[in-house]
């Protein structure tokens, strides 16, 4: 049978935005240009121009035992070359950031191969081979998936997603990794993602307009589009909730099983 992926339930613009993120055929609008060198600097895992550190020899040179899975799955470039695994982590403000942790996790799974992603309430980490990570970071940072003011590139001390914004509309950051320049209306990173100062600031462009963010966000908010307005999404969440609750009680299955084992 031929299935068509539905990605995410819902009939509002928020649900539509979520589907756009997850749909691998949808192309994100590119908003800014960040040179590769700057991305490497902001990630802070290696110096620009430095070779990738490896954890094993290239796969072609390795003698490994017969495994059907290895023939079936084509390794990503970083795995082929034995490059080590590194991460990029984002925090997204609740004030209508373009993405949010769950949306990010699902998007990463739909769009990229060879990722390990971890979802937390305020941050979302993606781990993969460093070589591929840099390629993906470029996509994540240059497109409308990222807003310099409401999303933050944060490896450690991520606190801020649920706090009020500051006077310039920036998400709170205790380490102040990025600064807003009122004259140029641009935001630039002065520290890498864990807070080590950079030699040169990395310009990540203008913050998005708040009205525009309301259009492209994937966050339901009562002052924008409330989740209660989205009947389909509520229905799906409701049915999952019900199934989980009933399932948690064992649907009488475990009880009978237990009785059987006790010899009753």
């Amino acid at each position: 049978m031929d299935y068509k992926a539905q990605y995410s339930p819902g009939e509002t613009k928020i649900a539509e935005n979520r589907r756009k993120h997850m749909d691998p055929t949808f192309e994100f609008k590119k908003l800014r240009n960040i040179p590769d060198k700057d991305i490497v600097n902001v990630l802070g895992h290696r110096n620009p121009g430095e070779n990738y550190k490896t954890v094993h020899p290239p796969l072609d040179e390795m003698d490994s035992e017969e495994d059907m899975m290895k023939d079936l799955v084509e390794p990503i470039q970083g795995a082929k070359e034995g490059v080590r695994i590194r991460y990029i982590q984002f925090a997204d403000s609740m004030y209508n950031a373009p993405a949010q942790p769950y949306d990010r996790a699902r998007t990463y799974m739909w769009r990229f191969r060879g990722v390990d992603t971890g979802t937390l309430s305020g941050r979302q980490v993606i781990e993969m081979r460093e070589l591929d990570l840099e390629r993906i970071s470029k996509l994540l940072l240059e497109t409308e998936f990222f807003d310099p003011a409401k999303s933050g590139l944060r490896g450690a001390t991520v606190h801020g997603h649920s706090l009020r914004l500051d006077e310039d509309g920036l998400m709170f950051d205790a380490l102040q990794r990025y600064l807003y320049d009122k004259k140029t209306n641009k935001i630039s990173y002065v520290k890498d993602q864990v807070g080590r100062p950079l030699d040169e600031p990395v310009n990540v462009g203008e913050p998005m307009d708040e009205e525009y963010l309301k259009e492209i966000t994937t966050i339901y908010r009562s002052d924008n589009v409330s989740m209660r307005e989205d009947k389909e999404a509520i229905e799906v969440v409701g049915s999952i909730h019900e199934a989980r609750t009933n399932g948690g009680f064992g649907l009488e299955v475990f009880k009978n099983d237990l009785k059987y084992k006790l010899g009753e």
């Binding site: 450690a156 205790a174 380490l175 864990v194 807070g195």
Partner: protein, 163 residues
């Protein structure tokens, strides 16, 4: 102990305040009559990075700086999120009106002002849990619930004399 009739007034701006704005608001505010004490609250800004790969590196946050309130230096360790002012009960109505005018002039975003009890007036179990039994002796009783008794009062408390 002499009993005073006071009430707390809380300013809750919808954005975190920059030190410059805080300075202006506090200076305007302290001109008003009936203030007993002022507490500023907010999200703490570390001086050095406490954990992670960059542990020990200086943060140099531009909001962590000294502001001048009534010609006294006040070191800000926080991004100011709310200001709680204890006001004499009989002067509170006029105070609220004037405060609203100050905030209208100084802030270009929304804020909330509410009157009620926002500071502690009794020691509670959580205080004992946090600071240990017998902590009251280490601290001026007027500071209970306002400041961390283990912090140096030189840094956390500023006395500004009124008229």
């Amino acid at each position: 102990m002499e009993e005073v009739k006071v009430i707390d007034v809380k300013i809750f701006p919808y954005r975190y305040l920059k030190p410059e704005t805080t300075e202006k608001i506090l200076n305007d505010l302290l001109e008003l009559k009936g203030i007993v004490r002022v507490m500023i609250n907010g999200e703490s800004l570390p001086k050095i990075i406490g954990f992670g790969p960059a542990k020990g590196v200086n943060v140099n946050h531009s909001d962590r700086k000294v502001i001048k309130v009534k010609k006294k230096d006040i070191k800000l360790f926080i991004s100011v999120g709310s200001i709680i002012i204890t006001v004499e009960l009989e002067k509170v109505n006029l105070f609220l009106k004037k405060l609203d005018n100050i905030l209208l002039k100084r802030l270009n975003f929304k804020y909330e002002i509410s009157a009620g009890i926002f500071t502690k007036n009794n020691t509670t179990v959580s205080d004992y849990l946090k600071y240990g039994v017998g902590f009251e002796e280490k601290i001026d009783y007027r500071m209970i619930g306002l400041v961390d008794p283990n912090a140096r009062s030189k840094e956390t408390v500023k006395l500004i004399l009124g008229d």
